[in-house]
């Protein structure tokens, strides 16, 4: 069966960006205000700059009035499912990074990325922090 083996999964890119953003923010617990459509906008704009080839894993459709990447949408859901990120009840407005994400990044993900990719991810994380409203620890 000629199956496609993606080198790096979108879930891993998103985990890495959020973990590196947390480290950059120097907070104990990164929580940021975001609806999914806002995340879509942020990442599609990052991709438009063409500075970060690693983001090509998120293909944004131009079907409708706004760019939309199903891969990004699904990644957010899957990271919640795997316990790497969570959402604060009852409004679900804030996404927060769980401690497991740090561990997963250090123990599993870090080895997957080469130096150039890690550099891109670090830059994306710094840019990401400028684009979201970060909340303090509850």
């Amino acid at each position: 069966m000629q199956a496609a083996h993606p080198a790096i999964l979108p879930d891993h890119i998103l985990t890495a960006v959020l973990t590196l953003a947390k480290r950059e923010s120097k907070t104990e617990r990164l929580a940021f205000q975001s609806y999914d459509f806002q995340l879509q906008k942020i990442f599609s704009e990052f991709q438009e700059t063409k500075k970060y080839p690693i983001l090509d894993a998120f293909v944004f459709s131009d079907n409708g009035p706004e760019p939309y990447s199903p891969a990004l949408n699904e990644s957010v859901s899957r990271l919640q499912l795997s316990g790497l990120i969570g959402r604060e009840n009852p409004d679900y407005e804030f996404v927060f990074l769980r401690p497991a994400a740090d561990r997963f990044f250090d123990e599993v993900l870090k080895q997957e990325f080469d130096d150039s990719q890690l550099q891109q991810l670090t830059e994306i994380a710094a840019e990401f922090l400028k684009r979201v409203t970060v909340s303090g620890a509850p």
């Binding site: 000629q2 496609a4 891993h12 609806y35 459509f37 409708g64 009035p65």
Partner: protein, 489 residues
């Protein structure tokens, strides 16, 4: 040197689809219908189809869908769920018109209409209905059960990397390729456009199947075909729950009264005037996923099918489905899944000449199904919050056998827009109520994965599977709780 450019790969799949359509039309004598037809649908009542629609309905492209069950292997669990993609397609066409009529009526009373041409033989409505009728012609063996397998094949992944197809399910891409194939285009021109004197543009129809329209002021038509509340969902939620005997409600008349069109970022889009109908759709969809599509026995059946397909793929010389058209029956590419219909695949008494397949077909025939032998869930995994379950979830994106029974999350289609009054602001529905977050939370709590095995070797498979899962993901499964949940001793 082999040409590996995206265009070349796209063309290769297009050619394979065209060969399939050619094969489908082999020996078919096209007839121009004498007039319209009424179909009596158990769910929606009498559905009226115009002659050009009847020509398409009577063609092998649509008739093939009679032999593909809408809910794949679900009928082994819910015995009355034997409805087919064919009747769903008729239903989707009818509901697309009801959505169109609803937004037309709304535009008329609000003084913003008319939105489009409501003629059945030309114009917007005719194209919309035809797109709805043809939207599922790319479904293959056992519907989504095989889509989960072939979606990971590289020929389709190449399409998914193209932003023109990024939001489309594999079946939709295949539907698009069938409808745009030269074989179908030629037939359509002769029997529909000329034969029925229908002024229909196949390019518009095929784009609508992908949820697109060339004109931005017609985006709402694409939304009726593909969006968070499209005619496909309206039909399948009602139809699947009806045939499974589940009392789910989507108040369609209320829904129609709550949809409208609005101008948003240069597009005329479909919007909701109230989010309650969307809540109903989402809750019903989640219930269907929990009770039907992700029922543990349905996942078991999907795994058994995947096991058979995997065996055929791994042993092409020994266990192929009878070759036909351009297919060697090896299930090595996405188009191979279009050739056999459910009845043909499961009716192969000789098991394609292979002992393993023969044994599995006998199991299906007698409903002698595998059983659960390991449960992977928050109830059975000791280090559930370690984040390591991401390694298991990664498998849903990789073509590996361990992924057989790991359920993917229910797909959400885009983001819905809401405008509570005609001149009010247009917002994402998430700003009103956390639609995706609720469904994610629900799916999160319902999520569990299983390893299935033949009953007679369940205990030894269990022991080996626990070791494999632990070795691969470092997740520690509590065997006592797992046994209890799987009803193993």
């Amino acid at each position: 040197m082999t040409n590996t450019s995206p265009e070349h790969k796209h063309q290769r799949l297009r050619d394979r689809v065209n060969t399939f359509v050619d094969w489908l039309f082999e020996g078919y004598k096209g007839v121009v219908p004498k007039g319209p037809k009424v179909f009596n649908d158990a769910l929606l009542g009498n559905l009226f189809f115009a002659p050009q629609e009847v020509a398409v309905i009577d063609s092998p492209v649509l008739q093939r869908l009679r032999r593909i069950k809408q809910t794949g292997l679900v009928h082994y669990v819910y015995p009355s769920a034997t409805h087919s993609r064919f009747e769903h397609s008729l239903g989707a066409a009818a509901l697309s018109e009801r959505c169109f009529a609803a937004v037309q009526e709304r535009a008329s009373v609000e003084g913003t209409g008319p939105l489009g041409d409501a003629d059945r033989t030309k114009g917007d409505l005719a194209h919309l209905r035809m797109a709805a009728l043809l939207h599922d012609v790319g479904h293959g063996l056992c519907s989504h059960a095989s889509e989960q397998i072939y979606k990971l094949l590289s020929d389709l992944q190449d399409f998914k990397r193209d932003k023109a197809y990024a939001t489309n399910a594999p079946g939709e891409i295949l539907s698009y390729l069938i409808v745009t194939s030269p074989a179908f285009t030629n037939w359509f021109k002769k029997y529909v456009v000329e034969g029925c004197r229908a002024d229909l543009n196949l390019d518009t129809i095929s784009k609508l199947i992908l949820g697109k329209h060339n004109r931005k002021d017609k985006t709402f038509l694409a939304n009726i075909i593909s969006s968070a509340y499209d005619c496909d969902k309206l039909d399948y939620i009602a139809r699947d729950s009806y045939y499974c005997g589940l009392a789910l409600t989507v108040d369609l008349p209320r829904f129609y009264s709550m949809i409208a069109t609005a101008d948003y970022k240069d597009h005329k889009v479909l919007v909701l005037r109230n989010y309650v109908p969307l809540e109903q759709i989402l809750f019903s969809k989640m219930t269907l996923f929990g009770s039907v599509y992700h029922h543990q026995k349905v996942k078991c059946l999907d795994s058994m099918l995947r096991s058979m397909i995997g065996h055929i793929v791994d042993n092409p010389g020994q266990a192929s489905f009878p070759p036909r058209g351009g297919s060697q029956g090896s299930f090595a590419d996405a188009v191979d899944y279009l050739y056999p219909t459910d009845d043909e695949f499961f009716g192969q008494a000789n098991g394609f000449g292979d002992t393993y397949i023969k044994g599995m077909l006998t199991r299906f025939r007698n409903r002698d199904l595998f059983v659960r032998c390991v449960e992977i869930s928050r109830r059975t995994v000791k280090n559930w919050d370690s984040g390591l379950r991401q390694k298991l979830i990664d498998l849903t994106e990789l073509p590996m056998k361990l992924a057989d029974s790991i359920p993917a999350l229910p797909p959400m289609t885009g983001s819905a827009l809401i405008q509570t009054s005609r001149n009010g602001p247009i917002q994402h529905v998430e700003e009103y109520f956390p639609v995706k977050q609720w469904t994610d939370a629900y799916a999160h709590n319902k999520w569990r994965s299983y390893v299935f095995a033949p009953r007679e070797i369940a205990e030894s498979v269990r022991d080996a599977a626990i070791d494999v899962v632990q070795e691969y993901s470092k997740l520690e499964i509590d065997p006592i709780t797992s046994n209890l949940n799987c009803h193993l001793s």
